[in-house]
Symmetry: C2
Subunit: 317 residues, 2 copies
């Protein structure tokens, strides 16, 4: 077997997903097991090694074809040296992951942060396949991002490239403080958290909205459902989230000039209702040469983006 294969690991606080990819970014198969974070760093790392060997049994021709194992991790990483400085959901502090995992697995290891890795997965094997320049947004609790230029993940000088949720973009009169300490960040409005906040504010203000009658905690999906059903307050909230997403893409377009924006994460499931509004704003705010031929599309890989992108670290980072 002369083909090169790559293994990707998506290390989450609850479960570890592992996947095998070919050199075109296609996911051949995957496997998943519990993280068992309570057991400490070494137990977690041993689990990763066990799941990788379950996915591709050592001694097989496939195992021999595996050129490396990439790991996507939520946390503060020293990427060049392969160290997890600190992770909010995992029992890691100053752990030299690359070194430990190379010993446990016997293959080259690379690490990168989960948002970058998910973006790389979409760009390499998903909605950005064969598109050399694309920018990915992940709309979830926050707004994550990742930038691929000339088929390579951009990291920047301190690994902060593609932190699109912290574009300071909301008009001063509407800006609130972000978790990062600044005001007016994109994710204060266009994340699930931002949408829920605007919905709660509307309900508390006594606005006439069907959201008042939602039982239990409001979700972003409640807001999209109400907006699609004609609720004007919800429509304004969605328009505002879409406006700042489109405006941020106009800024990104003149900085790195991608051919495609890929939007994933829970909020993106609102679908065409959301995308049509984003495209309208982007078209209005972007100079002609920077928007011609530019597409704004939905992510395709869903939860698999993490393992595919982690596998892609060997070819595309």
């Amino acid at each position: 077997m002369s083909e090169s294969l790559f293994v990707g690991v998506d290390l989450g606080g609850t479960s570890i997903k592992v996947g095998l990819c070919n050199d075109a970014g296609d996911l051949i198969r995957k496997y998943e097991g519990p993280t068992q974070a309570d057991g400490g760093a070494d137990a977690v790392l041993s689990n990763i090694a066990a799941y990788v060997k379950e996915l591709v049994p050592p001694g097989t021709p496939e195992w021999d074809a595996v050129k490396g194992v990439g790991i996507g991790i939520a946390g503060f990483l020293n990427i060049p040296e392969g160290i997890i400085d600190f992770s909010p959901n995992l029992p890691f502090k100053n752990v030299p992951v690359t070194q430990i995992m190379e010993e446990k697995i016997g293959k080259p290891i690379k690490i990168n942060n989960d948002a970058n890795v998910a973006a790389l997965g979409e760009a390499w094997g998903g909605a950005g396949k064969n598109i050399p320049n694309c920018v990915c947004y992940t709309l979830g609790t926050g707004v994550g991002g990742g930038i691929i230029l000339n088929n390579r993940l951009i990291e920047g000088s301190t690994g902060m490239a593609g932190e699109l949720g912290h574009l300071s973009i909301v008009a001063d009169l509407e800006a609130i403080q972000c978790g990062c300490g600044k005001t007016g960040c994109l994710e204060t409005v266009s994340s699930a958290t931002g949408i829920i906040r605007m919905a709660r504010d509307a309900v508390e203000r006594g606005d006439r909205t069907s959201l008042t009658f939602v039982e239990g905690d409001l979700t972003a999906k409640d807001v999209f459902d109400a907006a699609k059903g004609g609720d004007e307050v919800s429509q304004r909230i969605v328009s505002r989230a879409a406006f700042y997403l489109g405006k941020s893409m106009a800024a990104v377009a003149v900085v790195v000039n991608p051919q495609r924006f890929i939007v994933g994460g829970g909020v993106s499931r609102a679908g065409e209702f959301l995308f049509a509004q984003i495209r309208e704003v982007f078209d209005k705010l972007t100079p002609g040469n920077a928007k011609s031929g530019v597409e704004i599309v939905a992510a395709q890989l869903g939860n698999d983006a993490g393992v595919v992108g982690a596998a892609g670290l060997f070819l595309r980072a």
Copy 2:
């Protein structure tokens, strides 16, 4: 002579500058002659060839060491195919420059637009030397830009990467229309043109300012001189130009996360008076991880940036 040398050409409407660089981006010597645009495209291209051969005489060991000739051009270019589609100040329309110049000179030729080339020159041989990730601003009639990541010039999918003057960033209540057709672009405020416009508006409004007594046409330098001398209206104009520059850098910092911003062009001659204000705004608006260690410095090469960057196209584009 085993060293590799590179020739850069800065093709302007009035004069053609040519320069010889080594592979470290040092300018060894330069030469300049008239463009003679009235003579048509072929005369201009023959002049380039003649000036290059004046700079490095064919048959010498230096000539043999020249690995290529890069040309920076103001205009709409098809960079991959080496064609000038159209140039506002030169007699070129659909001219296959790369092909013609390879015949005239007998060396590989590359072309790129003048703003990208000047940025590359500063990054390669000037204020960005040995810094892999930097972003250059040129503050002149407009606001130009160029982005260097991993030591490579970023072009984007249609060559529009680094068009920082068209970041839509000015608050709606203050935004005016830009030459590109959009409103609120950075260059409507932070270019020489923008500064002069704000100054004229102040004079016409009857604001109490020493600018009222400037003889002849107002220049950006008049505004900086008045501001340094204590004129409050001029100080507000400078602060506004600096504010939006700093704000734009905060946006660029979370998109591509450079280690250094390099600011050149006529307006940048205002020096520390301007830079201190830009740094203050950048520090206030940028998340911690994206600003730590980031420097905002003046360009070093002045008018030589064009020839150095054009020479650098062979190593860095």
